[in-house]
Point group: C2
Chain length 192, copies 2
Amino acid sequence: MARVGLTPERLVRAGAELADEVGFDEVTVSALARRFDVKVASLYSHVRNSHDLRTRIALLALEELADRGAAALAGRAGKDALAAMANVYRDYAREHPGRATAARMRLDPETAAASAGVRHARMTRAILRGYDLEEPDQTHAVRLLGSFFHGYVSLELGGGFSHSLPDSEETWTRLLDALDALLRNWPAPSAP
Amino acid sequence: MARVGLTPERLVRAGAELADEVGFDEVTVSALARRFDVKVASLYSHVRNSHDLRTRIALLALEELADRGAAALAGRAGKDALAAMANVYRDYAREHPGRATAARMRLDPETAAASAGVRHARMTRAILRGYDLEEPDQTHAVRLLGSFFHGYVSLELGGGFSHSLPDSEETWTRLLDALDALLRNWPAPSAP
DNA sequence: CTGATTGCCTAATACCTTTAGGAAACTCCA
DNA sequence: TGGAGTTTCCTAAAGGTATTAGGCAATCAG
């Protein structure tokens, strides 16, 4: 009955790797147990249940993403910062598709509030300091960027842009140009 | 052994309703069988398997969405058309959250090519005729709008905007203003 | 009315999830 | 160093979902 040395951390890390290999949807307690060559029930001492496992993988991904974002943002401002952050999201999704999917998992409000998601929001606001936006426009812009990054990465990962021209690379740089331009020339509300 | 009158269409329609009630992830062959008060195996004459069922629900949602879009776009142009289409997506997601999630399901390329997804792309291009965009910028813009709608609806449905001010309604109208302004003043590529 | 077809059923297999309780492997202190 | 206590992993078991094979009854065509 040799002990393998399971810990929640090791399980979550292995679960994240599994997600990148076979897709987040295929991450299952059973598959994880197989990976450690251990019986399924053994995992339940370290992880509450399947949902808990998946949530923890999501939290890990959000942390990693926030760390990369913080590093990328250091010393940058304006469009430089915008592009750096955007590329962090996109590159992470390409390197770690399973984790990236996990990061988009819906979290219940308390979990979300305690997650690295709040760092993400802070970083986005930091980027927007390079543009001239008062509240509530700054919040609108945060939501715009969040929606766009989320959506673009989802669609690209799902293959939405892969079988048509121009290639996704070009669209990406041009859309960052466009968002930068929009943030610099944020429009006043239209007449109601 | 009374016959219930199952057909693929009825199953898919009931599956869509089930998705709206309990979430697309909870749509399962078993749950659907329960809903018809029929044994699980009976569904397999009408639907290939679970994945097939879910795919068909996604296709139904894409159709419905395209129909609504076509109706909303009739007789509109420019920002009017943009806002109409955008609201179709958002309203549909609020009325039919399960279907809307289904519509964002990843489809394999052949299925996607045969789906109403192509109508969506055509409609988006039709909207962009109200703006002055040449290729490849038009394609970039299609992808921008697709990403934004997809992302915003996901985040809003996931409760991302619900516990903070300003409320999502205001952000939505302001972001449509912003996208309209961006499309009218599409920037030239930045210096490489 | 009868023969063919179709529709739903029983039965069986194979996963995955989760809980309860047991035994071996560590830990740590006397 | 030698237990006592805790921790870690295991066996066992129950319940849910997915899927296939094969059967009988309801329906339909002629």
